[in-house]
């Protein structure tokens, strides 16, 4: 390129660039002023599929251990025993180490009732690794046993409904879910 061509090109492109940046000075900024200067909590704006901190609805946990097996980093530990007298599955321990969890969603996929699921919560910062362990079973509970027909227990029905909706999001080989 010639000498004067270079000068012309520089002036033209810089002029154009300055025009673009000038036009940006009157555009609306895109910043989301998390966490305080926003109208809606960020958690409420997230899609249903959002993979935030894990949560377990013990009421509908069947104790099938599918999530424990699916977890590639073994951050879920479940102790479930069959009670000899009542022949019911009893959950003695359901711990998730959220410090290790990588939010891959592989555990909630095989869950038959949608008990273990990701919430839109993402604010998990804490001061120690120990406090990142969520111990869901406070006292041994009896595992949920799916009933044949629709769930009748009014306490469990809404939870199960939410759980099944969560499961429905996952694609199934059978066709459109």
């Amino acid at each position: 390129m010639g000498y004067f061509e270079n000068i012309r090109e520089s002036v033209r492109t810089i002029f154009e660039g300055m025009a673009i940046t000038a036009s940006h000075m009157v555009r609306k900024p895109y910043t989301v002023q998390y966490p305080d200067r926003i109208d809606v909590r960020v958690q409420d704006t997230l899609p249903f599929r959002y993979r935030g901190l894990l949560d377990v609805d013990l009421e509908i946990c069947t104790g099938c251990l599918a999530c424990e097996r699916a977890c590639p980093i073994d951050c879920i530990v479940i102790d479930a025993e069959k009670d000899k007298e009542t022949r019911e599955m009893v959950l003695k321990r359901f711990d998730i180490d959220l410090a290790k969890c990588m939010f891959c969603g592989l555990c909630s996929e095989p869950c038959p009732t949608g008990s273990i699921h990701h919430t839109p919560e993402f604010e998990g910062a804490d001061y120690s690794l120990e406090s990142m362990i969520r111990r869901f079973v406070k006292a041994p509970v009896v595992a949920y046993k799916p009933s044949k027909g629709p769930e009748t227990n009014p306490e469990i029905a809404p939870i199960l409904k939410r759980g099944l909706r969560y499961l429905d999001e996952f694609a199934s080989p059978g066709g459109a879910s």
């Binding site: 073994d74 951050c75 180490d97 410090a99 120990e130 362990i133």
Partner: protein, 165 residues
């Protein structure tokens, strides 16, 4: 050239080193004796009809049960748009292969990586140092019998799962 042609061309030159059987597929697999890998590769690169101008991948596989290490060379030809995979084996105790780094510059790093992770020695490689692991690392991590040392320079490599407590 189709896979059969490539295999035939190799058989013509290296009847002893190239296995008479080959496996068809997207990457036709040709098995080659470990000693003549470099010559086979040179032929593949320099013969105009073959024209493999690119070494796409070089991977070692530790076959502990068979007591050998397999090394795969995935070769591509941008000129002719064909491809071939060479497979060679070398004993696990003292894995030695001739280098191909003088044929394709990329082989330099791929062979260093293979040495680093699997301990395959490439003879005549210009600069066979560790690539990914630290220089003073002991052992080759992708070997099946590799045991991670408990500590490295005083830094513990273990952390008990808090869930076990």
């Amino acid at each position: 050239m189709d896979a059969d042609g490539i295999h035939r061309a190799l058989r013509e030159k290296f009847a002893g080193a190239v296995d008479p059987d080959w496996v068809a597929g997207e990457w036709p697999i040709v098995t080659v004796g470990s000693a003549s890998v470099a010559e086979v590769c040179r032929l593949l690169r320099d013969e105009p009809a073959l024209g493999f101008d690119c070494l796409s991948n070089l991977s070692g596989v530790d076959r502990k049960d068979d007591d050998r290490i397999e090394v795969w060379y995935h070769l591509l030809s941008y000129r002719h748009r064909h491809q071939v995979a060479l497979r060679t084996t070398t004993p696990r105790l003292d894995p030695v292969l001739p280098t191909v780094s003088h044929l394709w510059p990329i082989a330099n790093w791929l062979e260093r990586e293979c040495w680093d992770l699997l301990g395959v020695r490439f003879v005549d490689h210009p600069d066979l140092r560790r690539l990914l692991m630290p220089e003073d690392w002991v052992g080759h991590p992708l070997r099946k019998d590799f045991v991670e040392p408990d500590e490295y320079h005083g830094i513990s490599t273990r952390r008990e799962s808090l869930l076990k407590l």
